[in-house]
Point group: C2
Chain length 164, copies 2
DNA sequence: ATTATCGTTTAAAATGTTTTAAACGATAGA
DNA sequence: TCTATCGTTTAAAACATTTTAAACGATAAT
């Protein structure tokens, strides 16, 4: 490959890694996707080892994670025993799917948390002093705000779906 | 405080920590906000040390981070030498501000990255073989997809602003 | 002026995460 | 059947982040 093209690509890969890290994601997994995303042909595990200079095990592990996200799929190449991988080129969809499922999962968790919290507070109501009743009231009011946010997030997801 | 209320609060704090961690954020900083968010009165550093059982330094450090985000502000209490803190109760705004600034920052970074990448690829154009020209073409096409996503994200932010 | 009480800083310890190297099982090819 | 080539697994090493404890400067109280 032409030197400049490789340099350009390396810069890209580096930036993608930093970007992922700044979001608290694993830097390497993003770089792995980046390599496949820029490739004009499916790549094998060994190709990726060579391109990224990391262990085979690492790639194996993270490729499967990318597959789970629908960001990468394996392709069969006639006459080769190796597995080949290619990136889902619809990066917009890859991103939005990931965000959507992440948000949905968390909305569920928050919902459970609130239910549990409310339940305990309600069950305590009978045994509370006047001051504690005030506190319980504050708890309920603050929980309501969280619930509002939750429903807003749900709405946001359904709106976003129409756009993407 | 009534035992059940404290248990309820502890569960809440625990869940908030897990939630934050699952987003790749610092678990403790979220728990710190949670304690203040549920409190009916401003709390001092020492109050927080007692409630969360962590070092003073840790709280000092993370409170300032929360202040940066506009999630917490310090309040002055007459007759006390201590600093007191209270949570911004508008949790919706705290969240959306944080998300907005995070996304905006990253859009800028991606934009720079693309510009740089494009520049290098273009500068190489003259010295490329036929195959490499094909590759450069693919790079440009893939970059265009990222740019589309970028502009979509910008649009999403401005739409979201009207809702929140 | 001296002491006590604050919040902050920081180097080191504790903890958590990622990466590797090596062993392994599965399967294709000889 | 035996060997070579795959991808996967996993325990340990490398690395990164978080937390602490102790020292510190600033300021209030005595």
């Amino acid at each position: 490959m032409n030197g400049k093209l490789e340099i350009a690509q390396d810069k890209f890969i580096e930036s993608v890694g930093k970007l992922a890290a700044s979001f608290g994601l694993n830097k390497f997994i993003a770089q792995l996707y980046a390599v496949l995303y820029l490739s004009n042909k499916p790549l094998s595990l060994d190709d990726l080892v060579e391109r990224l200079v990391v262990s085979k095990g690492n790639i194996s592990l993270n490729i499967r994670e990318l597959e789970k996200w629908g960001a990468v799929k394996s392709v069969w190449i006639k006459g080769s025993r190796k597995d080949y991988y290619e990136a889902n080129p619809d990066i917009k969809k890859v991103f939005s799917n990931k965000i959507k499922s992440a948000v949905e999962k968390r909305i569920g968790e928050v919902s459970n948390m609130i239910t549990e919290f409310k339940g305990i507070v309600d069950s305590a109501e009978g045994e509370l002093t006047a001051d504690e009743k005030k506190m319980a009231k504050i708890f309920r009011e603050r929980l309501k705000r969280i619930e509002e946010m939750e429903s807003l997030a749900s709405k946001a997801i359904s709106i976003a779906e129409k756009f993407i």
